[in-house]
């Protein structure tokens, strides 16, 4: 659960300095100007967008090539230090949280576009390339990269791969996992391995499928081949208001049941609408719920589905349906939606962004349960979410200055995840498990499930050098390792206890 607005990000666990030998090695690999270990730099990298976790890394290294990454990995191994890869640090689950004394790998220098092949629908990039840059590069030719997380103007492709990032349009187009064709991976032993290929159906295990969304635990990705798509000919958007989330939820179900696959269908409740208005000045009415929907495709198809969807909205109780007059107005509507998280800062000093998933048909029930919890706790909850795929983003509003309120907000946000699980859903649809939700993994998965995932991790990374303390609820060793007890880096970070 993230607190992008936390009043006072926690004081970071101070850096445990790395040895002079390590600094010397790193400097010789990437050049001394790309090895950061002054106090200010270490503080900068202590947190990602989840500011309630903060641990200063031992050193920050900015490699410029696969070869340099290999050398850094070898150095980490020689010094027995953990390695934490990080993109832009926009993650909301503490997925890029350092561990004390770690080498933190930054990718700001690995931001080249290496190859664009429009005819074959792929593009090869370095992991530090910004998500939106990819689509910007392709736009003149009429192509784009589909996954569009709300942070797309800042977040990197490498971070997207690690988190299997989604976005509003994944209902029709899928997630990062569906749009990564190949990746170059540096493994713990310093080997460089190519997984997948631009040519379909690479023989062997689909390790690329496991790598995407593995949250940096399996190795360091130094090159990514992305699937790129021809832009749809037409996009039709509408904004519809409803008396409550119940009617809006029915509308979503009816649209889906009619056979329409919307490109995106987003829901906001009253509080989220109020916040978005306050932030953007949009003239949205303050109603119980609103839907923002895109359909796209060839003109005739988009026209037809848009007309049908509007009709269904009216039939299911829409108060008003607005169709943007032009592209500018359309973008403004989307701006209202995409700014909804930050906008909540206008109506509450602090808030927690939750990310959970439920079957679409449970939307009305789950929102009801959340409303009851909210009333019970006396804490407001704003809901803005990807309704088409049941990916909720409840925002739990609180005032950190009020004694005990932050803890109650945390508890409420956690309870929402349990509601999601009771309805057969997931503890995260796109923000990842990271350090934050690792404890909840044991509520979603059983021990045999986690053990199976852990075995896969051990196959890639027997020493568990990469991004320790994330995903798994308790530290696990790979195989039997007799000998002197060594505390796990996650234990040292205070993130986990040995059970």
């Amino acid at each position: 659960m993230s607190h992008p607005s936390a009043v006072s990000p926690v004081a970071p666990t101070p850096a445990r300095p790395v040895s002079a030998w390590v600094l010397g090695q790193l400097a010789s690999i990437v050049g001394p100007e790309h090895v950061l270990h002054d106090a200010a730099a270490l503080r900068t990298y202590a947190s990602d967008a989840l500011a309630t976790f903060a641990v200063e890394p031992g050193v920050v290294v900015l490699p410029a090539s696969t070869r340099e990454v290999v050398e850094v990995v070898r150095t980490a191994r020689a010094a027995d230090l953990p390695l934490v890869p990080r993109g832009s640090g926009t993650g909301l689950s503490g997925g890029a949280l350092p561990v004390p004394g770690c080498i933190l790998l930054g990718f700001s220098r690995m931001n080249r576009i290496l190859e664009v092949d429009l005819d074959n629908g792929f593009m090869r990039v370095e992991p530090g390339v910004i998500n939106l840059e990819v689509s910007k590069q392709l736009a003149p030719a009429g192509y784009y990269y589909a996954p569009d997380p709300s942070s797309q103007s800042v977040c990197t492709i490498g971070g997207n791969l690690a988190e299997n990032s989604g976005g509003a349009h994944c209902l029709k187009y899928g997630f990062t996992a569906n749009h990564v064709l190949a990746a170059r991976l540096v493994t713990e032993d310093g080997a460089v391995v190519d997984l997948g290929s631009a040519v379909p159906d690479a023989p062997g295990f689909d390790l690329l499928g496991v790598l995407v969304g593995s949250e940096g635990l399996l190795g360091v990705v130094t090159e990514v081949t992305l699937r790129i798509l021809r832009k749809p000919e037409a996009t039709r958007t509408f904004f519809a208001t409803f008396p409550s989330t119940t009617e809006a939820g029915t509308c979503v179900s009816e649209i889906i049941a009619s056979g329409i696959v919307p490109a995106a269908i987003e829901m906001m409740d009253r509080l989220a609408i109020v916040a978005a208005k306050a932030a953007t000045g949009l003239d949205w009415p303050e109603v119980g719920a609103a839907l923002l929907m895109d359909v796209d495709g060839p003109v005739a198809e988009a026209e037809h589905t848009s007309r049908s969807a509007v009709e269904l909205a009216r039939r299911t109780g829409a108060l008003e349906v607005r169709v943007p007059r032009d592209e500018d107005e359309r973008l403004l509507m989307w701006k209202g939606r995409k700014s909804a998280f930050a906008a909540v800062g206008r109506i509450s000093p602090n808030y927690i962004v939750q990310d959970g998933v439920i079957p679409r048909t449970a939307i009305a029930d789950v929102l009801g349960e959340i409303a009851r919890l909210s009333a019970q706790e006396g804490l407001r909850v704003a809901n803005v979410f990807h309704a088409g795929d049941g990916n909720l983003h409840p925002l739990v509003l609180f005032d950190a200055k009020a004694p005990g309120e932050e803890q109650r907000a945390e508890a409420l946000a956690g309870e929402i995840l349990r509601i999601c699980l009771r309805h057969g859903g997931s503890i995260t649809g796109e923000h990842g498990v990271g350090a934050d939700k690792a404890p909840y993994m044991a509520e979603m998965f059983g021990e045999p499930d986690l053990d199976t995932m852990s075995r896969v991790r051990c196959a890639f990374s027997p020493e568990q050098r990469f991004n320790p303390g994330k995903v798994f609820p308790t530290p696990r060793l790979c195989g039997d390792r007799p000998g002197v007890y060594r505390p796990h880096p996650a234990e040292l970070a205070g993130l986990a206890e040995r059970v």
């Binding site: 689909d206 060839p298 589905t305």
Partner: protein, 411 residues
């Protein structure tokens, strides 16, 4: 009964490797128990569904018993409004589609032999058909899996919601794993609405280069076909392009493609339902009719003309009753026929690989007589991630009891 199984017959052999027994669990609990007991006895296992793709891969290096999934054929949960289904691995795709059709839905996979191919087998072999052009392949549609590990541990990955990033993606790990990482016991798929309308346009005589030009023209025009298949007619092809969706969109796209034929200097005609049915039946027979040799050609989409004019003729000359289907938007081709002289066929495979290789293309042998297999590696070049494959295999099947050696790289 399931635990003991029955004595195997010659029909139960996998690529000539004959097991002693066949195990037929009829519930997931029984399957788990059978695998656990097998582990206790150190039995080497292979998992078999409909048996449609048993020739894919190398023969298992050792085999004591075959576990048939055919008794595991229930729909566990079907939630039409959530557009997901959970089904046991032994259910055939055809039976599943019949259930889904009643609610106007489908699993958007159309691999060959739908009436025999099981869901588990389709996942394990990463089987696909032309619909992949629009909906993606198995990895894009599978959202959850229950597997039974070599040691009998039942584990779950993914979930039953489409959007879910909790934990490693075990469902994708199972895709193409040929049963060598565990028994795929049940699978969860996302579903799609059955299209309201469909229409196929036929280019009745297409030279290899036209395949590429049609694809490029459609992309330029922002048309979105749901399937594109080119069936070999000697050196040329008949090219079918199918549009699916709502009536208005389908009609418009069909007419626009027909309008492009002039600029493409090609003859295109709209097919009525009967003619379209006949075209797609011809396609099915290319993929499904009995053959002693089958191969999948994979290449970049722009290289399809080269595959069609160099790799395919090499194979054609070495096969009896040769046939081929290319999916030019995807860069895939399927060749089948009756193997004649071993030397000629092995040489043809080598020549086809040489034609595909420089641009990163591949040929995987899906079926061939043992003499041919002895001459050409079925998977082709060693996979670059072979060492990592072996480590993943060892992590999940440390005693190498599940179809060892079957996967690319001899893993």
């Amino acid at each position: 009964m399931a635990l003991l199984g029955q004595p195997a017959s010659g029909d139960d052999a996998i690529l000539g490797v004959r097991p002693a027994r066949v195990l037929r669990p009829s519930t997931l609990d029984e399957a788990e128990e059978v695998v656990r007991q097998s582990a206790g006895q150190g039995l080497r296992l292979a998992f078999v569904g409909g048996g449609t793709e048993l020739e894919l891969g190398e023969p298992p290096a050792a085999l004591d018993a075959v576990l048939s999934t055919r008794g595991l054929a229930r729909v566990v949960e079907y939630a039409p409004l959530d557009q997901i289904v959970i089904a046991e691995a032994g259910l055939t795709l055809g039976a599943l589609q019949a259930t889904l059709r009643e609610r106007g839905q489908m699993l958007a996979l159309d691999p060959p032999w739908a009436d025999r191919a099981t869901l588990g087998g389709i996942v394990a072999t990463n089987a696909s058909g032309p619909r992949r052009a629009r909906y993606g392949s198995v990895r894009d549609l599978i959202i959850g899996v229950t597997l039974v590990r070599a040691d009998g541990t039942r584990a779950r990955g993914g979930g039953k919601v489409v959007k879910n990033v909790a934990g490693f993606d075990l469902p994708k790990l199972m895709v193409g794993s040929l049963g060598s990482l565990g028994l795929i016991a049940s699978v969860t798929f996302r579903l799609h609405p059955l299209p309201e309308a469909a229409s196929t346009v036929l280019f009745s005589r297409a030279a290899p280069d036209l395949l590429r030009r049609v694809v490029q023209a459609m992309r330029r025009e922002q048309l979105e076909p749901s399937a594109v298949a080119a069936l070999a007619l000697g050196a040329d092809f008949e090219l079918g392009v199918r549009f699916e969706g709502f009536e208005a969109g389908v009609r418009s796209q069909r007419d626009r493609l027909l309008g492009l034929s002039g600029a493409l200097e090609a003859r295109a005609e709209p097919l009525d339902d009967a003619a379209a049915g006949a075209f797609w039946a011809r396609h099915a027979s290319v993929r499904e009719a009995p053959a002693t040799f089958r191969a999948k050609l994979a290449t970049l989409p722009t290289e399809v003309p080269r595959a069609a004019s160099e790799a395919w003729p090499a194979l054609r000359e070495a096969l009896g009753a040769p046939r081929a289907a290319f999916y030019p938007t995807l860069g895939l081709g399927f060749v089948a026929g009756d193997s004649g002289a071993t030397d000629a066929l092995a040489g043809a495979v080598t020549r086809a690989r040489a034609a595909l290789g420089p641009q990163g293309g591949r040929l995987v042998v899906h079926a061939a007589p043992p003499e041919v297999r002895a001459r050409v590696p079925v998977w082709g070049a060693e996979p670059p991630a072979r060492a990592l494959f072996a480590r993943v295999k060892a992590a999940l099947d440390p005693q190498q009891r599940l179809s060892p050696g079957r996967v690319a790289g001899g893993v």
